[in-house]
Subunit: 348 residues, 2 copies
């Protein structure tokens, strides 16, 4: 352990060849006699030789490194899926990921980008934890960058986000499909925020109603805050309506969870008396609820994969405007949707 690491020169000397030859076998290049190759490989194995990547980097100018910067990660438990997807794709291309959690601190973020650039990253994926517009540091433009679950307000960088509207539409259609007509929608944030995750899921809801000839009823729409408590309160409120909804579409699984408690209080059973669809597919919640929650999955791993794929394959010169990609949110069918009850909204 105290010995100095062997270098390519040590290998060359011991194997009785030039360093160029050692380099060639290291990179599995042709034009090396089998006997020579074997001899060199034997010496490398004996000395437990390991190439120093930094030296290659400096010569070839390729770091085979991507930066992965996340912001406000704390608010969601999805960071991991994102990293997993991105990393899986990067590994296929022999690249590694340098992960930095900027954690909402602008200073840290700037510093992170600087560090990444000094390390020679060949691209950066910048991931937010919910779909909204961001304004990125200028330094980021020095290297190919793609945004995940967010987009640069100027739309001058490529991005990949969930297709929120389609998700909202399919969630609503799942309810319509089982005969529900009085369907409440509780958004995951105020519509005035302009966040796609709030606004577009709501738009999808409206589209579904319209496509199925169901009249939009303002009384059934609530602007929630995403939290369980918010879901609980709005649900109580909605159940107090003269004609309460039979179907509930929540902008987050957490709100759906809160709703379960409101239903329990009223003696309402899911899905016998009321049906519910969530959004996010947070396993720990959706699987744990009784009955388990039918919900729309956010394609985090797929977004991470797409981002690295784009870094790897897109042409980064000037040209057409950067692509703003959308990925579908799959419906995850569990047990919280059933046929509309005969006597809607009352105990069955």
């Amino acid at each position: 352990m105290a010995e100095k690491k062997p270098s390519i020169h040590d290998i060359a000397r011991i194997a009785g060849v030039g360093v160029g030859t050692v380099s060639r076998v290291l990179n599995s290049q042709p034009n090396v006699a089998d006997a020579t190759r074997e001899r060199v490989e034997r010496v490398m194995a004996e000395l437990d030789y390991r190439p120093t990547f930094a030296a290659r980097h400096i010569r070839t100018g390729r770091s085979q490194l991507f930066g992965f910067v996340t912001d406000q990660v704390l608010t969601t438990p999805f960071a991991h899926d994102l990293i997993r997807g991105a990393q899986a794709r990067a590994r296929q291309a022999d690249h590694m990921l340098m992960v930095i959690d900027a954690d909402g601190d602008d200073r840290v973020r700037e510093q992170a980008v600087t560090n990444l650039l000094e390390r020679g990253v060949e691209g950066i994926v910048y991931a937010a934890m919910f779909n909204h517009g961001v304004h990125l540091p200028a330094a980021l433009r020095e290297v190919p960058t793609v945004l995940v679950d967010c987009y640069e307000v100027a739309r001058d960088l490529p991005s990949v986000v969930p297709d929120e509207a389609l998700g909202g539409r399919e969630a609503t259609e799942r309810l319509l499909q089982d005969g529900h007509v009085r369907i409440a929608m509780i958004t995951n944030d105020a519509l005035s925020t302009g966040y796609p995750a709030a606004v577009e899921r709501f738009e999808g809801y409206c589209q579904a109603l319209e496509a199925h000839g169901v009249t939009f009823d303002e009384a059934l729409v609530r602007e929630g805050l995403g939290s369980a408590d918010s879901g609980y309160r709005h649900t109580r409120d909605l159940l107090d309506l003269e004609l309460p909804p039979t179907g509930f579409f929540f902008g987050t699984d957490r709100m759906a969870m809160g709703a379960y408690f409101a239903f329990a209080e009223r003696g309402l059973r899911v899905p016998h008396d009321v049906s519910v669809v969530g959004f996010d597919d947070q396993h720990y919640i959706a699987d744990a609820l009784r009955p388990a929650l039918t919900t729309m999955a956010l394609p985090h791993a797929a977004m991470g994969r797409w981002a690295v794929e784009h870094l790897l394959t897109a042409s980064w010169g000037e040209g057409r405007p950067p692509v703003q990609h959308q990925l579908v949110c799959p419906l995850v069918e569990r047990g919280s949707v059933g046929p509309v009850p005969a006597e809607p909204g009352r105990k069955g």
Copy 2:
């Protein structure tokens, strides 16, 4: 963007100094005349110069890089806290983190370690997602390594884990403190697994009872599986006892969540009729439950921080056996524990 990056030579030439001088200002070394320093800095700013870290690495032999390898991350949403804690400490020492998710695949894990070693990492933190014994690849010994939330079976590597026994004890004491005597314990896994997270939390429970002179009652102990469903079933079962428990200590928050549904079915209110303490402090669950769940927090961020601290400061020569450190699990008081009811276990 097409131009070649300026190097230290370009700066030197333009500023009319030697490269050594440029290097000195780059590293804020003394022995540079103020005027010279300023001139060099001006040129660097003009050319938008950024040092190439790999060159420094190769010269100094220091990568200022730590590897962060995780295993089986999928099973928990805590990966992020771990990374955050580790990264915060690393940043203070001007180190970066290369994160690899081995995701339970041994091949990926070996490859990851090899890659990390070629990148010249100065240390590796290997994090598991629950406290258990692991058997690590030999290559890991080539560089300082510390284990987080797990330990090498041979105990030949330093590790940091939660103090499970103390956590189990304090959880139980919280219940005792409010007068509960019939306290159920539902472990988060079979005791035969030998997992500290299961075995030691249970031991803590026993210690607390004994310390308070409460007789251990086998009928109140169940070996759970960690899932919400498991919590639900065991709770129903326990409620069917002749003399049901008034206090419940669950080895996971998920099981506590399942229990809430069992309580609701029986018309039992938390904490009026029954009190419960969980383990893990999974915010998405603990905060969302009604009432919010009192639970023991796993010190993930602190473990990540400790691991990097140890990498940075421990002496890694031979010598005494590697430290096996334990960190306390803080009690997070929310609203699920109350005084023991007058008529125990019945509707109040």
